[in-house]
Symmetry: C2
Subunit: 239 residues, 2 copies
DNA sequence: CCGACGCTTCGTCACGGAGCGAAGCGTCGG
DNA sequence: CCGACGCTTCGCTCCGTGACGAAGCGTCGG
């Protein structure tokens, strides 16, 4: 049993606290500078530099240079997925670092998981879209129903851009704080963009917590309500 | 960003080659003795014992004692999911340990991923069941359609046992070798049991490869064919 | 131009963890 | 009962890795 992916190499990279903190910070989906990441990791810039080089060599993160600033971001959704899987396992097996507090509650309510909405509100979004059939199971993962397409189009989302060959327009991502699925993939990403760009919510100081305005929350509820009451009749016998 | 699950602790456990090999061996879904796991890891029994204690303390594996034999198995599906996520990431980022060979081909074709069928055949099973609507998206993950329920019942599967409160009857699990979904969860588990108990296939020497007999392969194809041609008409416009 | 800043590279040190030999305990089977 | 076997625990060694200080390079802005 020595063939196949070398999970030890990958896990060992994530298994260092400094690197784990960096990767977790990058789960916000935003690119951060080497200096910012050294703060996140709580180490000196020189140490952070060595760590970042390892992550980049392993292709877990990507580098973009802007003058003297070096911006790093996660290499892609599969990195986020692996980290989310570890988070789920850590949460499930009781490996938590601090007691839940007010900030944790905000994280649990709404946060970005890489490029899409997670937390209780992310789960509600997924559930609502599934319940009324805007998204359905396909061989390539979750897909859009015809009714779903027109609904998202009405929200200003470029639906054609979501559906590219060999790429599922959405994906169920298991939420470590809710133990249920929230919506990931291109649709999930587009919806978080809609929420942030539309001013419904803004990022918290930690860059990851998503804080809805009063008005934004109403807009979000209206999105769920339209999702739940429009188009397809409810499949009562299904569940 | 110091709150939340401690992924470094979990990843560090997986990041040791000996422990990674053990966990990978346990992805077969079978329980193995401490001695067997020390062979898998390529270390002495005393070293293996210390590693196993760490994994058990962290609740990644469970111990069952039978006389002088100590059987260990993965603690649950969330462990398998995290490992699978790391496998996907390792494969995606080019962290492979050996060149693909004949054995690897058998692994890619059909293998057990914890308690369900993975590899090309596992992906085909998922796709066929989705295409004809036996399984559909629900808020709790993938669920069974009415037609799916009667079909699986006809195969001798205890469908009522699959659908328990708070537990999705199936789940899409991303396959690291195929980069597509195969079927996990209770239904996936029941189908692998059907395949193995029904004599359609047996486990390879490595305990993880699933080797179909000629006859078993025909039975499998018939399952797919019935899945694809029966009940619900094809949703041609969907994709 | 030049000092400040962001970041990388080099050298060194200290600590922790994985490894194994030795020893011991409990179970099994003849 | 007793030797063989499976497994755990203890003690010790060695190596690898993360940490930081020092130094250097490139970019930025006054």
């Amino acid at each position: 049993m020595k063939e196949g992916p070398d999970i030890a190499a990958i896990a060992a990279l994530i298994g260092d606290p400094a690197r784990a903190n960096m990767l977790t910070a990058l789960m916000s989906g935003m690119a951060l500078t080497a200096g910012e990441l050294s703060c996140e990791a709580g180490v000196t810039p020189q140490t952070a530099s060595a760590h970042l080089a390892k992550l980049a060599d392993a292709r877990l993160i990507l580098l973009e240079t802007h003058g003297r600033h070096r911006y790093f971001r996660l290499a892609g959704a599969e990195v986020a997925a692996a980290i989310e899987g570890l988070m789920e396992l850590a949460a499930h097996s009781g490996h938590l670092r601090t007691r839940p507090g007010p900030r944790d509650m905000a994280m649990r309510r709404a946060r970005s998981c890489y490029d899409h909405l997670a937390g209780a509100m992310g789960v509600r979004l997924h559930d609502a879209l599934v319940e009324q059939g805007s998204i359905v199971a396909t061989a390539h993962g979750l897909g859009l129903s015809p009714a779903g397409r027109s609904r998202f189009r009405a929200e200003g989302i470029d639906v054609e851009a979501l559906e590219r060959p060999g790429r599922a327009p959405c994906r169920a991502c298991l939420d470590w704080s809710e133990r249920r699925h929230h919506l990931a993939g291109p649709l999930g990403s587009a919806l978080l963009s809609l929420i942030l760009d539309g001013g419904w919510a803004k990022r918290g100081a930690d860059r990851r917590t998503i804080l809805f305005t009063r008005e934004g929350e109403e807009r979000f509820e209206k999105l769920l309500a339209r999702s739940e009451s429009a188009a397809k009749p409810r499949l009562v016998g299904l569940r």
